[in-house]
Symmetry: C2
Amino acid sequence: MQTWLDTTIRALNLVETMEQPNGFTRLSFSKEELEAQDVFKELATSLGMTVRTDAIGNVIARLEGRNSGPAYAYGSHLDTVTNGGGYDGAAGILTALGAVKLLKDRDQTLEYPLEVICFVSEESSRFSMSTVGSKAMAGMLTEEQLETMVDQDGVTLGDAIDEAGYDPAAFREAERDADELRSFVELHIEQGMRIENAGKEYGVARAIACPIRLKLTIKGRAGHTGTTPMNQRQDALPEASELILFVQKQANALNESADYPLVATVSTIESYPNAMNVIPGEVVLGIDIRSVSDALKEQMEAAIDRFISDSSFDIDKQVLVRNPSVTLDATICDKLMKLENETGYTCLPMESGAGHDVMNMQTKWPSGLLFIPCKDGLSHHPNEHASLQDLEKGTELLYHYMITAGR
Amino acid sequence: MQTWLDTTIRALNLVETMEQPNGFTRLSFSKEELEAQDVFKELATSLGMTVRTDAIGNVIARLEGRNSGPAYAYGSHLDTVTNGGGYDGAAGILTALGAVKLLKDRDQTLEYPLEVICFVSEESSRFSMSTVGSKAMAGMLTEEQLETMVDQDGVTLGDAIDEAGYDPAAFREAERDADELRSFVELHIEQGMRIENAGKEYGVARAIACPIRLKLTIKGRAGHTGTTPMNQRQDALPEASELILFVQKQANALNESADYPLVATVSTIESYPNAMNVIPGEVVLGIDIRSVSDALKEQMEAAIDRFISDSSFDIDKQVLVRNPSVTLDATICDKLMKLENETGYTCLPMESGAGHDVMNMQTKWPSGLLFIPCKDGLSHHPNEHASLQDLEKGTELLYHYMITAGR
């Protein structure tokens, strides 16, 4: 199995070796993403699946069961960030195909149809908007998004869909009816260290922490660094520093007292005019707050609001994103956790700090999310790595889920 | 006199009104700087002065005295930053010409020659290098600077000199012998609020605070903001924040205990990768430290060194600039302060937090620096303003210095 996994992960990544100093760059709706999808189509066909591409570019490989009816679906994506790794997304596609191969190798037939879905455009690197394909399938994509989301060259999402060979006006045809699928399960690399730190072998996410994202503008007063005495300044950068440290301290404090983890990060900073001889007159901070508990995210936001109202500076707050966190289907989570019994692998029940296609699928179909470890928790990086052992475990987990799901 | 000052400041700025929403943009060696210099030449000629331009573009207007010998020189510059004000530099040119006009109006002849020098390219906006003209005159400009300093379009300083109509290979001809000048006095707007805050009418700088500039790189570890727990992070931005607050606190403490003022500013910050879903992996800070006391600047730097060695982060320090501060000529300073007696205006002995052409002239000739107030201390800004009353006082101060300097 590991030989097949090794060959196939390289095939899906269009490379001879996974050691790529510059990593992998298959942006949304790019030629490279289409090429990787073509490999997926060939692999699925060779496993006896029928393959179709929907109106927006999701590739759906299907294996009929003994009975007709709604399908059990699996899948992930093959696009990457710029200079990303070859496992984020690809590991989910690989292990789902691997599990279908095991069904064949072990002469297992299924009662109901099975699908492996390769979602198009999961990463937000190109259009600052993630999970386009699964949004379209779940009926969450809007015409406005196609017109307003643009890449750095000014190409709209709609134009990119057109250039990839699909009709952007037909994107609604990618939406599927609720009764087409029974459920959806995604396998993904963890992109963190929790499974390894807990001494476990795989993780099952019970919920996905979707972010609150804030943009704070701290307004001070610019001035000459040489001629403005220290006691006559309104320097925006030290106040921004107090806020950055406050966010870190509050997040740590909330983690100690709460039932769920919370992370809060001042991840972006821009200072104006950012010139060596001018006191910072304005600083803009981007804050990313995540927890599967929306209440906890709101507590963090409320603490920031208190900082703002207590500050002697004029601080403007803008909410960029306020996405309620997604609770995944409890029954599916239970089944995924109980795969411990069939496989002997140890499971960590956990949460997902990052968004995945499964969060959109869950809005319409009962869904679940499996994690396998990745080396040093590293992701979106050329050194991103999942071992063949862990990929094999992931394949076995999906295989056992497939043959027990309908029971 | 105020009518003449009002007409002439507008003439030197090439405008009908000083109310310019976008301010003034006369970059180094630009067509606009040359046009303003042409106005200066006409004005000086009309006051009976002879005018010449040196090898690099400094314009030297000269009025002969009853005796020959080294001249008493005055002056400033006419270039500006982008969207700057119409008084930084221009006020010094205006008041020096105004004082020559007063000599004529009041039938005063001088024993020795007098010069008003309009230095070319004082601002660092275009080439990240200030006071090019006075550096050339004092013999401090180097061939390397002509070749390596480039503007944002990739034009070298040498090419810009060429385009302005001068031979860059001949720049050393602009250097003057020590025995050509007796002294140099510059009048400049204060670019701060100290004169006004002290309830005085003009300032005399005893020294110029030249900067130590540091670039600090704080190396943390990037990671996914959603999947990296708070206690497993090495976020470079909170550490940078601690350092920013430390610099401010130390500068305040040194000000309380020291004889001279010190300012220290973290004026630039760049965070990498500066993406909403990535923990800051590296932060680069630019720090500007100024005091007329080099020892005080070094104490501030030593405190930063202690922070670096105490930090649990890897912090790299690079010294960008280490310019010893310049003490101006004590005799000239005394004379400038004693103009209180002749004029009745009250004087604040002070330091200059910003660099000016006079700092280069002092390396070769005894030099002094007069400040007049400017509104709200604002400079390098469209709203930069010096009142006609203050410009008139500045003119009277230079006039009285001119007629008493040789005594």
